[in-house]
Symmetry: C2
Subunit: 255 residues, 2 copies
């Protein structure tokens, strides 16, 4: 009931948004009720589900900055049982104005109250370790860290581990994390080498077995405004994101 | 003399850092003296030039947050005539603490004083449109916006154009911008379609003719800590980044 999953990484362009919308799509096809929350002023998750960000009056910014009830910001999508809390560029000021409030890092967690009725709530985070991502980590039961098997991405895991230690010591001691390798191409030597290193460094408890490979269909589905499994159900990435949903439910904590 | 170039895009993972280090490498090979400035707490530019971010006492954070002279933060790299102002994760608090200062958006511009003696100064920006990127745009003669020919990246140009209008109306009316298509693969239909759309929307004055294609050597050169043209001089991307340097010098403003 309202199990929360944050999708975060300071590194940009590692498929955070793609993972948020694809995992949501896979869980919906398993009969779950899903709420996705767009925490990025880029509003890519909002866009990927067919909505127009600047047309939205009520967004996550209203919840985080103006104490609006989150239920008033929820909107439906083209997919049944998949609801969205959208964002728009107004969220851009959150990094500046959130930190001046007392206990600013628990604002999102406290907004999720008992009335919400979802199996899973998924947060898509901006490529930063600021106040907004801190809110998502504080509210999350599980943190999924999408990463490319490339040098800068691997280095970013260092800051991510530091952020996990900080959040666990402050407000969320029970948070679990898992690293997900995305945009993988086994023909690329750097990918094979770095993937091996990730297995050695993080092992089975840190690194998910499921890998998401390069699939050009993932570049196309956001244009239509639906998750990959609703766009091309038998594509390689749809199968891999379904395998991800199954691996999480079978192996990870209370999911 | 001290011509400033900002490399920025709110969208993550579009090759901002790769473009900053590669363009710097190309300009050095043309006999120019270059200073690169790492404005991202991820410190990828610092890493790409062989430095260890958390070993750095004096970084750009000291300049922006503690009024340190920028000349005290400059360090040499393995490449002659290519100097670096490094960053480390301490820069992460800049989004929170910079905006409380008066005229915070001109701190970087004012730090560049007359004593610096470079042909070009290149800023690598974080994937955000916050106080740090605003400082870079305010200080820049030229803004280069690397973009992938993909849906989310194309959408990000909307917020970038809004940021350009804001900066031009406030402190930097003469700033020029150019969009650079990166990580291009002509075999991908989405890339061909979106590239056509970019040409129609932005034309010759907005979109650079040079395109940087996918080249796995660009994933390897940061591991060695040197720019692509010093790693594999005849690689496709080294040639394309040289062509970029030439196109900028021949066609753009006062370069
Ligand atoms: N497995 C994949 N195969 C091919 N393309 C992919 C794959 N996953 C993501 N992409 C594409 O790569 C780009 C980056 O993905 P995405 O925008 O989801 O990353 P992100 O981490 O959310 O980026 P940001 O840091 O800007 O929020 C997008 O254009 C997306 O369509
Ligand atoms: N032309 C290219 N061909 C292949 N790989 C590339 C190319 N350009 C960049 N890359 C790789 O793609 C990844 C993203 O590039 P890079 O980190 O430079 O982007 P960025 O915009 O600086 O990301 P961030 O938003 O996190 O700062 C890196 O792993 C880089 O090595
Ligand atoms: Mg995203
Ligand atoms: Mg970068």
């Amino acid at each position: 009931m309202n199990y929360t999953i944050a999708i975060a990484n300071e590194k940009g362009g590692v498929a955070k948004t793609t993972t948020a919308v694809s995992l949501a799509g896979a869980l919906v096809q398993m009969g779950k009720r899903i709420l996705v929350v767009d925490l990025d002023p880029q509003s890519n998750l909002t866009l990927a589900l067919g909505h127009i960000p600047h047309h939205k009056e009520m967004t996550i910014a209203s919840v985080l900055l103006n104490s609006e009830k989150i239920s008033n910001a929820i909107t439906q999508t083209q997919i049944e049982n998949l609801d969205l809390v959208p964002s728009n560029s107004e969220l851009g000021v959150a990094e500046r104005f959130l930190p001046v409030r007392k206990n600013y890092d628990t604002i999102l967690k406290n907004s999720l109250g008992g009335f919400l009725d979802y199996d899973y709530i998924i947060f898509d985070c901006p490529p930063a370790l600021g106040a907004v991502t801190l809110n998502a980590l504080t509210a999350a039961n599980l943190l999924i860290i999408p990463t490319q098997a490339e040098y800068f991405s691997a280095y970013a895991l260092k800051n991510m581990m530091a952020a996990i230690r900080q959040v666990r010591s402050q407000n969320n001691p029970m948070m679990i994390y898992r690293i997900l390798v995305t945009m993988y191409d086994s023909r690329i030597r750097a990918h094979r080498t770095l993937h091996e290193q990730l297995i050695t460094t993080f092992g089975k408890d840190g690194l998910l077995e499921t890998i998401v490979e390069i699939d050009t269909k993932l570049r196309e589905s956001p244009i239509i405004g639906i998750p990959i499994m609703h766009y091309v159900s038998k594509s390689r990435s749809a199968l891999q994101y379904r395998a991800l949903a199954e691996e999480l439910i079978e192996n990870v904590g209370e999911m």
